[in-house]
């Protein structure tokens, strides 16, 4: 366990180096947070209540999902695929710890960095510009921490499997890009899943992608409380376990294919 903590810490520290990059990203998030908030203002002028959201809920959703992009790695990262392509994967596979665990630990280190230095400032900017809805109950913060931790796992497992495609194709980014585009839409990042038509909503809410963005946002908004909250976290935990299991299975299958070229 200590080795994974150390790996996570290193990943966290690596991100600390790129301060200006984070500032530029923060600027971009702030701009898009604003640009995407404006259509919501107009939409709620036409109707005061949309699928149980009032304007403030919708604005809070908007800034929360904007804040989460980097935390849950919504738009991917192809480091694993790159090591597979370059062959460096061989040295990672031969290290005395789990290949999946290694990358998962790194992802948690990265996620914690972005939670502190990206998500928090983005939400504060949203608060300054529009005034957001903050949790009314202290317990929500604890639930949010659990939900975010699970969201990172689900996001990671999905992305990791897309990366593993590099074992079979030279173009993991092409396959993965399509997967990320679909997951962005289905995660509740583009539009709250509650806004979906009634026939489609149960489907999108049951899929694992809901657990990457929509569930943490719902927890923060206190749209799920009590047993419903337990159910939402349970669904996230189930998907996290299933996807991590599937990812581990894929690692086992893929490593059988690895042929080390001498040299």
């Amino acid at each position: 366990m200590r080795v994974y903590l150390e790996i996570g810490k290193r990943a966290f520290q690596r991100e600390l180096v790129y301060r200006t990059k984070n500032l530029a990203g923060l600027f971009t998030n702030a701009c898009f947070g604003y640009l995407r908030a404006v259509p919501l203002l107009a939409a709620f002028e036409a109707r005061g209540d949309i699928a149980g959201y009032n304007l403030q809920d919708a604005l809070t959703w908007n800034w929360t999902v904007q804040a989460l992009i980097m935390v849950v790695g919504l738009w991917g990262g192809w480091e694993v695929a790159d090591t597979i392509r370059s062959g460096d994967v061989v040295s990672d596979l031969s290290k005395p710890f789990s290949f999946l665990g290694f990358w998962l630990a790194r992802d948690y280190g990265r996620a914690i960095y972005y939670l502190l230095f990206r998500a928090l400032p983005v939400v504060l900017i949203g608060q300054l510009l529009f005034g957001l809805r903050w949790p009314h109950h202290a317990i929500t913060w604890a639930a949010l921490a659990v939900s975010l931790a699970l969201a990172v796992s689900i996001g990671f497992a999905f992305r990791f499997m897309l990366n593993l495609a590099a074992f079979w194709t030279t173009d993991a980014r092409g396959v993965g890009g399509l997967g990320l585009i679909a997951s962005t839409f289905l995660s509740g990042f583009l539009i709250p899943l509650a806004f979906f038509p009634d026939w489609l909503r149960p489907v999108v809410q049951a899929l694992p992608f809901a657990g990457i963005v929509q569930t943490p946002a719902d927890v923060f908004l206190e749209r799920v409380t009590g047993w419903a909250l337990m159910g939402a976290l349970g669904q996230q935990a189930l998907w996290a376990a299933l996807l991590l299991g599937a990812a581990q299975g894929l690692v086992v299958i893929a490593t059988r294919r690895v042929v080390v070229q001498g040299g």
Binding site: P39, L41, R47, I50, L190
Partner: protein
């Protein structure tokens, strides 16, 4: 060198770039499908929203879709033609831009001819489909004048976005670093132009009308097509101003680029 020669050389160079991208046919098709799908999902989100509301600031779904399609086509054209300029920050960082300056052709020409990313055309297809459906939906009474405004606006919109790319690349002559801030103007620009500008606050609307003239990409031409009055009070013929505005943008971009090239100092590594 006569212009015809430049033209021939341009196609020869980007042809080579295109052939390179076609080497992996499956991945090329996949990437094009990805670009197509990405924007379709964005539009899907708009459909989901409209399923819940009757209109957005008095604009129906069909009317917003018209804006959406025009913006997508113009942006995709610019994004494709300007792909070479994506390489500029990396070229500056690695000192490769020096090499460009030693060759007997302009730096601008060499950059624009360096790459033509064909997969980005996937967005044009998507934009055209939405545009075609939207114009049927809002039942525009087409006249030759309106058709001309649409065609000219698509080209002028592309030129406006193109000049943003040029200025973004020129900006790298000073910052050396990447272009995330530039993305705010390009992708942010498409996001804004995908909605009626009526929804934006006064200062931002004036900014994108008079200073950073995104409003002429599609908003004013669309007002003309839809025969809607302008909330800012510009007359209906503002829809005809796109080519003029686009020309101004290109002049500013050309000036910014040559200013950047003149002030270029090699990174020396």
């Amino acid at each position: 060198m006569p212009l015809r020669e430049y033209w021939r050389l341009y196609w020869r160079l980007v042809g080579a770039s295109a052939r390179g991208q076609m080497q992996y046919k499956a991945s090329f098709l996949l990437a094009t499908a990805g670009v197509f799908a990405a924007n379709l999902f964005d539009f899907g989100a708009l459909l989901v929203l409209y399923h819940r509301i009757p209109h957005l600031a008095g604009w129906s779904l069909g009317e917003v879709a018209l804006l959406w399609g025009m913006s997508a086509v113009s942006f995709a054209l610019a994004d494709t033609i300007a792909s070479g300029f994506d390489l500029v920050p990396a070229m500056i960082r690695q000192g490769d831009f020096d090499r460009l300056l030693t060759r007997p052709l302009g730096a601008f020409f060499q950059t624009i001819a360096a790459r033509l990313t064909l997969r980005r055309l996937g967005r044009i297809g998507q934009g055209l489909v939405i545009l075609a459906v939207a114009q049927g939906e809002v039942a525009i009474p087409w006249t030759p004048g309106k058709l001309a405004v649409l065609m000219v606006a698509l080209a002028a919109g592309a030129a406006i976005f193109f000049s943003v790319y040029i200025l973004g690349a020129a900006y790298a002559f000073w910052t050396v670093e990447g272009t995330e801030v530039v993305n705010t103007f390009t992708y942010g620009g498409t996001t804004m132009t995908s909605y009626p500008l009526d929804i934006f606050h006064g200062w931002l609307r004036r900014f994108v009308t008079f200073i950073f003239p995104l409003a002429f990409v599609n908003y004013y031409p669309a007002l003309y097509l839809l025969e809607r009055p302008d909330p800012l009070g510009l007359p209906a013929w503002a829809g005809w101003l796109s080519p003029l505005v686009a020309t101004l943008c290109c002049v500013v971009a050309a000036w910014g680029w040559s200013f950047g090239v003149r002030h270029y100092q090699s990174t020396g590594s």
